[in-house]
Symmetry: C2
Subunit: 390 residues, 2 copies
């Protein structure tokens, strides 16, 4: 039984539903950000992130900084790319486009490869682009929250290594970390940026990221100073004194900007819950839940935005509405049944689809019935709207 | 009675002790960041900030963004100053120096006026500097957390208006907002940046700021795009679509980067507690507590870092240790007595003093005895160290 008051189930693609123990950690009594107790918690949290990202390479560097997931883009754009350097952005929706905008804001020379609506850019096109000029970084959205399109990260990273091994492979994992398979070392990733409030299952407010030793070297070897202060990795890293993130992990107090002890406690609780079971089991549960959602939705005669099965994320399902049923018809009916879905945010099809997030406790906690309830509510609400399968 | 487990009283100059109701708000069940319930809470929170900052001018614009207090410097440096423009920084310690570093990171041409250790730069020197060249912004740390030096904000702002009325007056209010008098409209301020975890009394993780209509115009009229994404005011403001902060205040859903509903709930609770009583009464209580601390400390024969009474903040007291007593002698003894003070962080005198924060519930909640306990603990700990008044 949840100790939270009765409330509609939040089944949008983030923020997600949170476990009671995580929410209780949010109310931790006040601690000094440089006191031994909190520093031990923060240090352990950074070490847990290495397990979650599947990296054992000591050169990999985790970061946890107060901010939205968006701040991860700034970390990449401000630190890994110098003004005028080339960035290749693979876009599968709103968030791929946003990453490109962010890179441009810091002066990167951006080439963007767009997938069709509901699809991915194709690997041969990426290879051709990489052969045409030298890119400092390639960015890819692992799961685009706007469309639910999943990128083929493993083979994509392998292809980059083959064609342009010096290009840093950077992943927007906001909607994938802790629900989609992601093997930082094995796949040779150079950076993954994410946020607390999606599959990790901790309230919003933390930018969480992992960078490879190659990326950290690129930061150290910059010719120009990053044009940022709060988002400057150099100010959080050992080239600077104090070496904030490394000190925290070594459980030594350190200061650059004040972290949020309460959010870090909640993240610590969430990560311990995740790492208490094998990651493979967690990913498998997300696949099973996602398969069930997608089967039920298509059995209802509805269409999924990510059109090919291999392009479909297991974090969420973006569903086209039937003709003549609009978002303002459907969402309030779902809310009446205790279910919250999100509207669309893709620039071309925003009004035509809804998004159903099925991450974290919603997917893995057997005592919850969020998914069954949501599928039943969707079916009933569509019937109330007069929908009949064609 | 607090519902928090027994824990030492955190009397550092931030994070401070938090009220139970605020900590309970941190565990709010998950809500959509664009749902009606949360949007109403966020909107109300922005309106409460207008009351706290004492601004009724509709052109004033509050911002609440996930981040540390440090992010406020980035907001100013990235948005209000274009590369090559002049910034005059009045420094009273570590945080004034930090603001200058941040402005330089974004390409500002910085002139810094330093006060002596424990003192302020003098107004005539500021006036001379303003007469020598044109400054786009002047920044001043209202209370420098490293030294407890209070700036004479009201007369300083008046002097700037007289000598260089076009210069934007920007205040680092991290350690002053909600404990020191600050009248945004009446004093003609153009920007105040602060954080949640000090006198406002909400856990760390929010950058909170207020900018004048003149500042917002300066952002709109920039010749260059700000070299930032997450910290770009244009992306949070009505020149851009959607007009995120204005929409939230009008209780319309809007999206740029995902806010932290739990932190915003806690901030809402904290602001309602503050605004339930007249602000003047709150400031007076902080003065009374501060006066009591400073009298007891000087009666003990100790010296305060902010040497002149008019330079002393009411948020905190930085206290020189007696000769032969070191920080590692004193702080563990205080902790044994249930009191946490902070060490020093001023580059010249860091090892020679400790910092005692007396903000928020510690100052205004009559059911707490933090200040009495701390003064008694200090006296006893010094005696254990062999200290006798000279």
């Amino acid at each position: 039984m949840s100790s939270q008051p009765a409330h509609p189930a939040l089944l949008i693609p983030g923020p997600i539903e949170f476990d009671d123990a995580v929410l209780q950690s949010m109310g931790h009594y006040s601690e000094s950000h440089v006191g031994a107790g909190f520093v031990a918690t923060f240090g352990e949290t950074l070490s847990l992130l290495r397990l979650l990202f599947q990296t054992t390479n000591p050169a990999s560097q985790p970061f946890v900084i107060s901010g939205s997931g968006t701040l991860g883009w700034d970390l990449v754009a401000a630190n890994l790319v110098e003004p005028g350097e080339n960035a290749l952005v693979l876009s599968t929706g709103y968030f791929g486009d946003g990453f490109a905008d962010c890179l441009r804001a810091y002066g990167a020379n951006v080439t963007k490869l767009d997938g069709p609506v509901g699809g991915r850019p194709q690997l041969p096109d990426m290879v051709t682009a990489l052969q045409e000029k030298k890119y400092k970084v390639l960015t890819v959205t692992h799961v685009d929250t706007s469309t639910g399109v999943l990128s083929e990260l493993k083979s994509l990273a392998a292809a980059v290594k083959k064609v342009s091994p010096e290009t840093l492979v950077i992943v927007d994992g906001v909607c994938s970390v802790a629900c989609e398979e992601l093997a930082f070392d094995e796949w040779g990733l150079d950076g993954v940026v994410t946020a607390s409030q999606k599959a990790i299952g901790c309230p919003a407010g933390l930018s969480i990221s992992m960078f490879s030793g190659r990326s950290i070297e690129a930061v150290k070897n910059r010719k120009t100073e990053p044009a940022t202060y709060f988002a400057s990795m150099r100010r959080w890293l050992p080239t600077n004194n104090p070496a904030v993130m490394q000190n925290y992990e070594a459980k030594k107090p350190s200061y650059f900007a004040t972290p949020s002890p309460q959010l870090i406690h909640a993240l610590n609780t969430a990560l311990k819950q995740i790492m208490a079971r094998p990651l493979a089991e967690r990913f498998q549960k997300h696949i099973e839940v996602s398969d069930r959602v997608k089967k039920t939705v298509t059995d209802l005669g509805l269409e999924i935005v990510a059109s090919k099965p291999e392009d479909q994320s297991h974090a969420m399902t973006a569903i086209y509405l039937p003709e003549k049923i609009a978002i303002p018809d459907l969402l309030p009916r779902l809310l009446n049944k205790g279910i919250i879905f999100a509207g669309g945010i893709h620039k071309e099809i925003g009004t035509k689809y809804v998004r159903f997030g099925h991450m974290g406790v919603t997917a893995v906690d057997p005592s919850r019935h969020d998914v069954d309830n949501a599928l039943k509510a969707l079916q009933d609400a569509l019937a109330e709207c007069g929908y009949k399968k064609a």
